[in-house]
Amino acid sequence: MSNLISTLMVVLTLLLVPGGFLQVHVVQQIKQELRTIQADAVRKVAAEGTITPANATLLIRKFIQEEIETKHYRLNSEAISLSVERVGGISEEELTYKDEFIVRIGYPKPPLSSFFSTAKDFSFIMYGTMEPFPYDAQS
């Protein structure tokens, strides 16, 4: 313990390196969980049939809350920002057979990684296509 500076440096290394690894791991897990939830939400909307984008947002918000609770994800469902948009046109009409939509999902980055990057949020975009219905198949 004679050399104060080297002791401090060793202690700093002992704390910082595992801290960095932990942070990378946490970020990786958050990204994976967000992407999984987003893909499931896209399929949920696609299977719903006739639904307006506004109603679809409410539907998948509820779905995501349930998913996070049952699967014990580390995400906080309050902090997730969501939007469903129709592709092509600004109309708010109902999504039906073969219509395309975008599900955007955003989540704040953990403190350390948001400090080192310019974007403060993770944001992911996923496109989806509505499933056909049984009565569409008959016609």
């Binding site: 060793v10 290394t13 002992l14 990378v24 992407r35 893909a39 896209v42 073969k98 056909p132």
Partner: protein, 194 residues
Amino acid sequence: MPILLFGLFAMLFLLFPGMMVMDTDAITGKQMEMQRLMDNANHHATFAIVDEENAQGSVELELDEALQRFHQRMFQNGEYTWDGAKYVPGVKSITTSPVFAAFHYVDYLQWEDSHRMVVQYTGSSLQVASFTKMADHGALLEVEVRDQAGNTYSLPPTILTGPCLVAVAMVDDEGLGLAGRHTFPVLSVQAVKR
């Protein structure tokens, strides 16, 4: 001081198991993400039907248009651009190396028979080497990928429910540090939507 030095050594040593855990997590995530991208793109692609055939009660896929829709969706969701033989990753893509892909359309005359499909991976291309009929019934599709080293990856068998677009992708990506490469095939089968 010896305690601190031991601590430093122990930490550096324990980082290796930690990196293995992170690598396992990464490959699982990569595999799931590729499966989701392929399924989503294939779902989008199988809407490209020939309208006249549909009006007459049969169903037929317009393959060129379907593949265009497939590539478009892979770009929108995963930032992959198609260059004729492989998907070139963008900055935000899940892999850093190109993903090879092969497509095959099982049309309405074939889908009720059982088939075995062999896909050959050479390291710089992925191609359907053979598509052989095994039986007149069953609607079973078995896909296997053979690589240049002689390994055979058997993919899970699928029961077809109609004319299908079959897409196989081969991911061959760098892993984390000493953990080795991430090599795995992805299969996506989707029935043509009427």
